[in-house]
């Protein structure tokens, strides 16, 4: 097929700076929405995903499989588990068994301060660092038992809606009518733990007047999930249920799937309005060139060649907008913290989100140019040559 030079499409972009800006802006808006939606869904998914090679099993109260915070199991479960389940991971004589309390609590920065800062506290023992190897103390130290000390995650301030400096080492948070000094910062990237407050298990039990545990987390070695599951079924007196950690987080992901779907639908609807705006601009741009299109046909250029050139021009403008939106996303959106009921997750502008944005940009260019191009080429040549 005889084609118009690519240069023609490139130079046509410069005909009207205003229209070019509108086309690029429209495409950038569409791509930004798509990238943001993808980054939101990806970030949320990551925070609710545990490493696929995780061999952790969570022991919860029967009937509380949906929420660890609602679960209450006896203090003796860890010792029963160690005694009853063989094949739990062990190093230097320490079994990878972590008794934990997970509790949503309202705290404040000062005594008598009416502010209500909602956060999630996790009461732990030193074995918690064994079963959660992704946790790393990045500043300070772990809190000591009996000293009213706590340790905060690197995104805890985001979850609480306060500045990072409010949770600096040496600062305190008030709950149970007393201050709890922050002695350390930790991180557990890509997990909900990143936005939690950790403290010694017994301190939290006392502060909350709760002698029971929320759960016990085991890391398996030679044992398999079925062994743990069978054990919980033989110990009906303990009223336990075993869930693999990966399945627990998978169920959380299923729970949040409608939210993710809504994000996509909202983004799609907004992107559609951006696309329609872009269409309007392209209609105006191409209809102003109807006579030129007629002239090109009179020279002998087939309609397909002109259509291709219009497509190239539109895709070029849309791709420029897409690239700008992707760069903007990397610089300004990637890592932005978003609060949700499970804690905080960070928008993740990864290669998948970027690819989705670029594909959306190219599609915007293609879809946006087809109706105005067809309208422009639909006219018979004599009528096109008379166009004003």
């Amino acid at each position: 097929m005889k084609r118009l030079p690519f240069d023609y499409a490139v130079r046509n972009l410069g005909r009207s700076r205003l229209r070019l800006a509108a086309t690029i802006g429209g495409s950038a808006l569409v791509v930004l929405l798509v990238v943001t939606a993808a980054a939101f869904v990806q970030g949320m998914r990551r925070s609710l995903t545990i490493s696929p090679d995780s061999t952790n099993v969570i022991l919860l109260a029967s009937g509380s499989e949906e929420s660890v915070e609602r679960s209450q199991i006896g203090n003796s479960v860890p010792s029963h588990a160690i005694a009853g389940i063989s094949g739990i991971r062990e190093e230097l004589g320490t079994q990878f068994v972590s008794p934990e309390i997970h509790m949503a609590l309202v705290v404040s920065r000062e005594a008598g301060n009416p502010e209500e800062l909602r956060t999630v506290l996790r009461g732990v023992t030193p074995t918690a660092y064994l079963v959660h190897p992704q946790t790393e103390i990045i500043e300070g130290r772990a809190p000591r038992q009996g000293h009213d000390e706590i340790m905060v995650g690197q995104l805890t301030h985001e979850k609480m809606g306060i500045s990072k400096s409010d949770l600096a080492i040496g600062e305190s948070l008030w709950f149970d009518d007393r201050p709890w000094e922050i002695v350390g910062h930790f991180r557990a990237p890509g997990t909900v733990m990143d936005a939690e407050i950790w403290m010694p298990l017994t301190d939290l039990q006392m502060a909350a007047n709760n002698e029971e545990l929320s759960c016990v987390i085991l890391t398996l070695d030679t044992a398999e999930f079925a062994d743990v599951d069978a054990w919980t079924k033989t110990r009906l007196d303990l009223e336990l249920v075993a869930i693999s950690e990966s399945e627990y987080y998978a169920s959380l992901q299923r729970f949040y799937r409608p939210v993710q779907l809504m994000v996509w639908v909202t983004a799609a609807l907004m992107a559609l309005s951006g696309l329609l705006g872009g269409l309007n601009t392209l209609y105006a741009a191409f209809s102003a060139r109807t006579r030129e299109v007629g002239m090109l046909q009179s020279l002998g250029f087939p309609r397909r060649a002109i259509f291709l050139s219009i497509l190239q021009e539109s895709v070029l403008a849309a791709s420029t907008g897409a690239l700008m939106a992707c760069v903007f996303s990397w610089v300004l959106l990637d890592g932005v913290a978003v609060r949700f009921s499970m804690g905080v997750f960070q928008l993740s502008v990864d290669s998948g989100a970027t690819a989705a944005g670029l594909v959306a940009g190219v599609l915007t260019g293609i879809v946006g140019s087809i109706p105005p191009a067809l309208r422009c080429l639909r006219l018979p040549i004599p009528s096109a040559l008379k166009a004003t």
């Binding site: 118009l4 023609y8 130079r11 020279l299 002998g300 004599p382």
Partner: protein, 235 residues
């Protein structure tokens, strides 16, 4: 057989329930190498006839044979290919591409001919030289006067060395002296290159440059003028 032969040539347009027939059962022969002007009031069918000969429109009935081929039955894509070989079109409003230089505008039709860059350069330079605008080859249309733009448009029309050059009111948008220069140029192209030139015009002075003038009214041929100094070729 004449180079261009129209037999019972009719073109009817339908707009809603109304049928308009700007060209009605026209018989016409045009010999190769003729400079012919078409005159007539608005709606007389002169531009319709020009467009049919140029292959950018198709007749409703009748035959239109050019160089032995009845183009009335050609498909759109066949016509497009045929136009690129046989037709050079000069428009009243020049229709230059504003984002291309004079050189690139003239080069456009050559892109349909599979020539090398070097061959294209030779032809474009020759065409620009012929119309006397070689020194403005790198100018954009907005940097040229109306007369200069029309010269570029003429260069674009002749660059592929077409057998027929059609011109629709080529001087309609120009001042007197520019119009005269353009008509002079067209006449020399007809005379020196031997190309068939068909021009639609409202201006009787412009028509005087042609070898023959046909008057159309309501889609029919009503009169033929042959200036003393020219040779008639139409029947």
């Amino acid at each position: 057989m004449a180079f261009i032969e129209c037999r019972n040539l009719t073109r009817t347009y339908t707009r809603g329930t109304n049928a308009i027939t700007p060209l009605d059962d026209l018989d016409l022969d045009i010999e190769e190498g003729m400079f012919l002007s078409l005159m007539g009031p608005s709606g007389s069918g002169k531009t319709t006839l020009l467009n049919l000969i140029a292959g950018i429109d198709r007749p409703t009935s009748g035959s239109l044979t050019i160089d032995g081929h009845n183009i009335a039955n050609s498909s759109k894509s066949e016509l497009a290919a045929w136009r690129s070989e046989y037709i050079g079109y000069i428009f009243q409003l020049y229709n230059l591409v504003p984002v291309l230089t004079a050189y690139e505008n003239v080069e456009l039709p050559l892109l349909l001919h599979g020539l090398t860059r070097k061959e294209r350069h030779r032809k474009v330079s020759a065409a620009l030289d012929l119309v006397g605008i070689a020194d403005r080859h790198d100018h954009y249309p907005r940097q040229l006067s109306g007369g200069q733009e029309q010269r570029v448009a003429i260069a674009r029309a002749i660059v592929t060395d077409p057998r027929i050059i059609v011109a629709d009111e080529p001087t309609g948008d120009l001042d007197k002296s520019s119009a005269r220069a353009i008509l002079d140029l067209m006449q020399s192209i007809n005379r020196d290159l031997g190309r068939t030139l068909i021009m639609v015009t409202h201006d009787p002075h412009a028509a005087e440059w042609a070898q023959k003038t046909l008057h159309l009214e309501k889609g029919r041929l009503v009169e033929q003028d042959v200036p003393q100094s020219t040779t008639a070729g139409a029947t």
